[in-house]
Amino acid sequence: MAPTRSAPARAVDIDLEVRLGIYRTMVECRLFEQRAQELFFEGLVRGTTHLGVGQEAVAAGFAAAMRDDDYTFATYRGHNHALARGTPMGPIYAELFGRASGLLGGKGGSMHITSVEHHMMGSYAIVGAHLPIALGAAWSAQYRKSGQVAVCFFGDGTTNIGAFHEALNMAAVWKAPVVFVCENNQYMEYTPIGAVTAVPRPAADRAAAYGLDPIVVDGNDPDEVFRIARSTITRARDGEGPSLIEALTYRHGGHSRADAGTYRPDDEVKAWLARDPVPGYRGRLAEAGATDDDLEAIDQAAQNAVKAAEDWARAAPEPDRAVLETQVWADGGSSWRSPRADG
């Protein structure tokens, strides 16, 4: 069931500027993803796509609290996180379309969105795999004394796989600067998380197993997300080690592709739709003094950006077959044969 909304009053501790930025990110994610879904049904987006519609507050709230050089690690449901770190929309669409100017040249696809330039260190499609990898990036930052923090986003279902356990324990022992964020959207693919998990709170009820505090936050409340992001990232940067956060949220649509999510009770869906973070936050910002013009401008700009990105991606060429075998190895090539003596 949905947690209760925190009182807007508390938000005075967050600058309106920051909050408007969070709202901008959320709107951009929302419009980008809704359009992506339409384009999937249009057949333009190939393969698969896992949307984060409804979960934008987590990505936006965290991104606003991160330093530019902090690392993001996400899952196949990673578009929101890529956008929140500043990855341009056009190349992401182009990647979903399988085009040459895709963010990954068409090689990665929807499940592997990565933009190292924006410290978006990847979207990982094997459940749990990126938790140890994020720990490794945090260990590297610790060793390099760079002050960077790694933030690793994953789902509720991921808390039941081995890699979760190994990463949490080793991160805690090493006091690695990493924040693990479980986006508990209540379901794995089609199975309710409660049906396959021994504890009611898949992440929070595991925290003590790693000597960590249980932290649950309303993942649909961008201000709450920002606050916990700020405090846990600071803690990590200060050398006090990792945190594990369970953010309660919900995906408005199905798990992926054409899934309509019909396995979910109507009233549950209704209750969560009523807590849609985007209009909710818009209203709260209005109460907090944001003008209609400000908010209108943000909405409009996001709409234009999405439209422009789509047009740009539509115009992008298909990949050249010549790149099929490039970038398997660091010499840019694919040869598993050492060069012949005669060249």
Binding site: R46, G47, T48, E95, G98, R99, G102, L104, G106, K107, G108, G109, S110, M111, H112, A125, I126, V127, G128, G157, T158, N160, I161, G162, M188, E189, Y190, T191, A195, V196, T197, Y263, E318, P319, R321, V323, L324, E325, V328, S334, W336
Partner: protein, 328 residues
């Protein structure tokens, strides 16, 4: 004869065996209530109930390990790995535990179980959801490996795999799920370890597996009509046991061998077959053996790239034609 899709044949084969043997149980992620993410197991929960058809957490090691523990204590479990790429997450259970335990215990422990999985590419899912891992399993002593190319074989080989006393890795081709085919009525069981010559020919032998079989047959038809080349196509059906006799018999007749493999090149099953033929069939070879495989690369997501990576009928036709013309 009923016409079934390859997808529907999976549930049909499993149901046939669950019907006749109470010890057959089935577990995996989203396999029960949801009927599987590829809808290959729809209806099994309703028909056999939650004690025999179980949804699991996302815990591949526990899924495969539980199947092993159940198999050594009187059950015949079927475990689903949603995508064959996820074998990597449970590889210790498969390669170190399940494959070796009978030998390590000198036969005290028997493991009649099936590990089912959606294998291969063609769906634009990218490098981590499109692999062909049948050769990974072939490399591990103690495993049997099955990869059907049509709905009838899905049912017949699934039945044989479930009845087999040894652990069987059963690879279902994603690219074939929608393909329809005739399936014999009544109980249908096909023995493991028998390849089938799906098209007779005299000029060369094309050995293929799973999704590469229909492509090889199409290529063979075009080679015949467009180039006057008579290609024999062998559907291996199982990699372990391997029907070496049928392969050598065909090569003895045609003197030329091509393998068509969906896997990346290095150490694929075709390499093993080439190494067998260049030893035991050496004197019947009139020309080099050519392997037609996915290049040694991870699979790309973009349609044009994935289509350029996995062997197509076009590539098979071109390769066979060039090789045979070169020899003329």
């Amino acid at each position: 004869m009923a016409e079934l899709t390859y997808r529907a044949a999976v549930a049909t084969g499993i149901a046939q065996e669950m019907e006749r043997d109470e010890t057959v149980v089935f577990l995996g992620e989203d396999v029960a209530a949801a009927g599987g993410v590829f809808k290959t197991t729809e209806g099994l929960l309703a028909r056999f109930g939650p004690d025999r058809v179980r949804d699991t957490p996302i815990s591949e090691q526990a899924i495969v390990g539980a199947a092993m523990g159940a198999a050594m204590t009187g059950l015949r479990p079927i475990a689903e790995l949603m995508f064959s790429d996820f074998f990597a997450v449970a590889w210790d259970m498969v390669a170190n535990q399940i494959a070796k335990t009978r030998y390590m215990t000198d036969g005290q422990v028997t493991l009649p179980l099936v590990l089912r999985t959606a294998n291969g590419g063609g769906l634009r899912f990218g490098a981590q959801h499109s692999q062909s891992v049948e050769s990974w399993a072939m490399a591990i002593p103690g495993l049997k490996v099955v990869a059907p190319s049509n709905p009838a074989d899905v049912v017949g080989l699934m039945a044989a795999a479930i009845r087999d006393p040894d652990p069987v890795v059963f690879c279902e081709s994603k690219a074939l799920f929608a393909v329809k085919g005739e399936v014999p009525d009544g109980e249908h069981v096909e023995p493991l370890g028998k390849a089938s010559v799906v098209r007779a020919g005299t000029d060369c032998t094309i050995v293929a597996l799973a999704a590469m079989v229909p492509r090889s047959v199409e290529a063979a038809e075009r080679l015949a009509t467009d180039h006057g080349i008579s290609a024999e196509v062998v559907d291996l059906r199982t990699l372990v046991p391997l029907d070496v006799a049928t392969i050598l018999g065909s090569v003895a007749k045609t003197s030329r061998l091509f393998t068509v493999e969906e896997n990346p090149r290095l150490c694929g099953w075709g390499a093993e077959i080439a190494s067998i033929v260049v030893d035991e069939g050496f004197w019947s070879l009139d020309a080099p053996i050519a392997r037609i495989t996915t290049p040694h690369i991870p699979l790309p997501a973009a349609a044009v790239l994935e289509d350029a990576a996995i062997p197509t009928a076009d590539r098979i036709v071109a390769t066979v034609r060039d090789r045979l013309e070169a020899a003329r």
